[in-house]
Symmetry: D2
Subunit: 394 residues, 4 copies
């Protein structure tokens, strides 16, 4: 039998449910050197966290995250709370020698993210691992995209074109949930979904964004206060209005350090687009395109083949020779959103067992935060804004 990896998870809403499914599944799909144990889930309300423990399958539950991170019965802290609490929990967990998996965005401010990255670097010297949960890196089609770029299949990259389009608050009567309040969420579409395309494009290209010109917009500036919410759904509470203090949409131009130019767009107002995380790369030798609405597909244009046969090849990324896929079903039997989390914790478990640093590191996530910060600065000033670099060139 393999040694246990005892997990304590903080937060149990949308992200907590997704992570729970991952922890529950990972050792059944993959043969791993550690056995994940769903030990304790933590939340603020005793009643609700007890219910969540049952529903999500955790052995225990608590309302005291500080004792959880200090517990000798826990090896890893999985942080699934809103962004305003990430730093405090993560810093305490790292200080207590616990491995940390922290949902994105790493923090609500660069200052916090910087502190977290520093703590992670220090903890690393004691064999403690920290990872930020940019789960889309673990979609098989995205991992294949990264592989093809790394193998030079599209040559020098000229263009990056990234959008993350949703429409869940187009209705002006949709209430003022926490994701629309700056003090909790940090930012709006920018940090929630823009962070994903910043990380994803830096990951697949191997390049860093160096400078940005941005605009942000809040189309609906006040909304009814919410009565209750669950996941991204919520209902309004009568006619009392509150101010939306985050962006509904963020658009920016960018340059990357490998010479590519880029457009980015994150919005919650793209009517009919439910979760359209799309990335296209155009290189000197080919192109790659991904759309999460068809997450089991990758489009690849190979400009080096016979001319009359060239075109975008729709690769069904469901075959045993594709990343992560051999663990699952026969050819053509697609995976879903949740598998990205299962792959994430699979990689994390393997890295912990091997004594390797997982990616994306907190430093990677800080770098994303610095981009988001530059975007906000640029949107405010109207000027191109350079991104500070914390990462050494790969």
């Amino acid at each position: 039998m393999y040694p246990d990896l005892r997990v304590g998870m903080v937060g149990y809403a949308f992200m907590g449910a997704a992570h729970s499914q991952a922890w529950r599944t990972v050792n059944h799909a993959f043969d791993l050197p550690l056995q994940a144990r769903m030990s304790v889930v933590c939340g603020r309300s005793a009643d609700q966290v007890a219910h969540a423990a049952t529903r999500l399958g955790w052995a225990g539950h608590t309302t005291d995250w500080r004792s959880l991170v200090e517990s000798d019965e826990i090896d890893l802290i999985d942080i699934c709370t809103p962004g305003d609490t990430h730093a405090e929990i993560a810093l305490a967990a790292l200080a207590a020698g616990k491995h940390v998996l922290c949902e994105k965005p790493l923090a609500n401010s660069v200052a916090e993210a910087r502190e977290m990255a520093a703590a992670a670097a220090q903890a690393q010297s004691h064999g403690v691992r920290a990872m930020c949960g940019f789960n889309y890196r673990r979609v098989p089609a995205v991992a294949l995209m990264r592989d093809l770029v790394a193998r030079g299949r599209i040559g020098a990259i000229r263009h990056v074109r990234a959008t993350y389009l949703q429409d869940w608050i187009v209705d002006p009567e949709f209430p003022l949930v926490w994701r629309l309040r700056k003090e909790i969420a940090g930012s709006g579409a920018l940090g929630d979904i823009g962070a994903h395309i910043v990380d994803l494009t830096q990951f697949v290209t191997g390049q860093s964004i160096t400078t940005v010109s941005a605009l942000t917009e809040t189309f609906v500036r006040s909304r009814p206060l919410p009565s209750e919410s669950a996941g991204l759904a919520a209902s309004a509470n009568g006619t009392v209005l509150g101010d939306v203090t985050v962006d509904d949409a963020a658009l920016f131009l960018a340059r990357l350090d490998g010479g590519a130019v880029a457009t980015y767009e994150a919005t919650r107002f793209a009517t009919g687009r439910k979760n359209a995380l799309r990335v296209e790369l155009n290189g000197a030798l080919g192109s790659l395109a991904f759309d999460f609405e068809r997450m089991n597909e990758l489009e690849f244009y190979d400009a080096t083949g016979p001319g009359a046969e060239q075109g975008f090849t729709r690769i069904l990324v469901t075959e045993p020779d594709h990343p992560y896929v051999a663990a699952w079903w026969p050819p053509g039997h697609g995976l879903g959103y949740e598998h990205s989390f299962t792959h994430e914790v699979r990689d994390l478990i393997e890295d912990i067992a091997a004594g390797r640093d997982p990616a994306p590191s907190f430093a990677d996530a800080l770098q994303v935060q610095l981009v988001l910060d530059a975007v906000e600065q640029s949107a405010a000033s109207g000027a191109w804004t350079d991104v500070e670099t914390v990462l050494e060139p790969a």
Copy 2:
């Protein structure tokens, strides 16, 4: 706490793994009146079944299916073995008063299927439930397709066009696995995947196939004997050849009792098509099209809307108001193949708790078997062959 539903599963290969994931997940995704327990898994090899129990997450294991079906510690038998053993196990389980979930095809012969349907009908009078595992019915897009037909949104159905295209044995060096041997598998593409499109089209249309004209073909008539296999993958064992005794492809025309005409095609030789289960229905008022390679989408043509705006609407079947979806993730976060099994056992659990007969019943599955039998007869005789009806009109 809810009462337990203690499951004993026979077989632990591809289907066993898929069912295990479903049993493990179902009570975490859905709020259900019974709590599934993964009690015992059963297989022929003591070593392998012990390993499977660990890997797939079953509390116990055994090599004796007869004692399993008689055990007082088991409420439901889940049959995931090849088709030649379905009848014996299912009959014994029903006789022992156990609920039964039996993978498709129900049996390798009409005679067996008939006996099983009769046993299920008798068991039903004692409150024992039997269901056949045509999992594709539980893909949300397929369930939505059924809803739209039932609500009259496409009117009287004129055409059914169904294919199930795979390519996993195009290579003539692929070995002679059990699925290519008639004595174990019953038939080839016809029973393995053709059964799915027969059931699926009868389900979504609410119509039964009444007569068929068929051809079957075996393109590669001998293959190397296998050394080992896992799932649909396998490796060959040198140069000793054996005869392929099943069809590689089955094609047939059909008429349905509601007036539709149809084409069906099941093949393992459609190079590049990995799991292309496709169904299109054309009705007097609209059309519907589904392709499992894009399982989170349904195409709907509504001929009753404004003329200049008509077209096939690509419905992303990932929204809370779609069948099964509210239990999962936010809008646009797609599901995968395995979710069809989770939905299947969810419906089964609800039916058992409610004292309702689940669908598809063994009689439904016998009806599918009668179609397959008519197809084989027609392919042999060259004549149109009528399908015996066991089902009363809905």
Copy 3:
């Protein structure tokens, strides 16, 4: 200056308009050894044909097709009338030493088609050329499909899957136009559009259909008599009904002489499908798929490439190295339906100038007619029906 090719066209409805656009355009797009001249258009009504001459751009007009085919001022007769008149006109034209381009289907009966093929064979010995107008062969994507098959890129063909789906008479109030009357049209969907997919699949595969099992159906058996019609559009004339004497849909299974098995379906009742001529070929080394609704694209699966990069490649058949395309616009600037006719007359002009026999010959078209005849016989008898072969193996 190049010598003239003086054309006399009989018929000026939908097909006449399409051919006129082709004759008008061909020498401007292509550099050809003969200069087409739109000399005379012929029709039954003096008023209407005069009007058509102006509208379609013909120098002269006549109501006397017999004098037209005998005229010394005419080199080629282009037959665009309904199928019941093809034989008489074509035979007279060939007898008069005129080249003939005859719209498909070649004739309404095998007997007529046989006579026409014999006459064409005899005329050939005098340097007179005859071609049947299966224009879809000249869509660049179809021509590319043919090239790829001929070059062995998909290997031995296992499966042919062909549909031609339209929906223009789904409405039961659509009137009884000539295309729905057997005495004029010969057959319904079978001859009108089924003929195209029979020719097209025989063309792209290089194989001939040897045997068929068919069903035909007429969903709406009586319709209002028409008041007037234009192209495929028409309006009804009150409540007087007449009998539909042709098929609304024809479905058949087939075997081809190279070992492939096939499904064919032609229908005018596929709601929402406007002109969905689709052909898919699955071979031992790859697959090809074409859909006329996206006529500038061809999908190609190459199973010989790197495994993890395989998929269906969407070739935009709009590049200079694709068949016919260099004559037109820059990369990516798509062509339309009418260009298939321009390419058809381009090839015909080049063949005439070179003293070559054009394809499809009348013998090719007779072979199509023999398939249609076998389909009708099979639909009537319920038995598999062999197709007589007039063509020698290629």
Copy 4:
């Protein structure tokens, strides 16, 4: 018979060929109050223009554009030359009382464009008409897009997302053709294809771009000098290099006067994208998306319909109730690139006959030029740059 509209065309390369096909076809497809006559084509080389007259179907030819614009035998001057000559020819033609159709971009500088717009406004008072050739407005799917927006079907527009992606100069050995030289072409991707998406989005939204933040990039800064070119194809002449003096790609963010935010990207370095002019609009009530690579389709999301049936509807814009389509072929028989020009001259002829001002006017085209100018200024300065408004609000 209708009165003649005698056309003199200046320039006979790619655009000249496209316009010729339009003039040749328009009166045969549409019933119009004026009969276009292809009177004279004009070019610099006597030999080449004589050859072009034959090839493109013009009755006469000349090398003297000044006498052409003054000729009493000409009613309309069609300008198909590179942008550096537009102003001089157009001004002379308008002064001579000739109607003018001028290819886009209207001019190479704002100053020229302003002068042309002023001249057109003055000529208008004498019944002389001027139109700029933004042909993509006349693609049926684009015209339908405009109609749906104008009818309020997508509500208030939040997002505009426009790209025009080509790849014809990805190869660094592609020679330095005139389109890559600023003194002739004015700008690179920006003016050549960026102009189209600026005009198109302003047309379909009915909104004007008010401010931009831009970057431009030239990836390949020197190229071999060309030996000869035709259309967009060209061959290089050995190893002598020259400087590329235009942009290879232009990207910009924008705000529109109706409240929408936008991203724009025009590039010749999007490997595999041949002519991907794409526009997506997201509104409060729905969305619309168009891609010229599938020019016969329009995607429409209607957020006002039944929730579970919502999705992007792929409208095949090939039906008689769609703009321009009734003149052509039966349902589902798609059109090509050249039809946009035929529709353009059809609208121009109708406007001339009706004494109406055609759109896009020279003022509309000046407005596009002002946007392009602001983009270039912004790219140079790094600051957001406002666009001067010459158009009164609609």
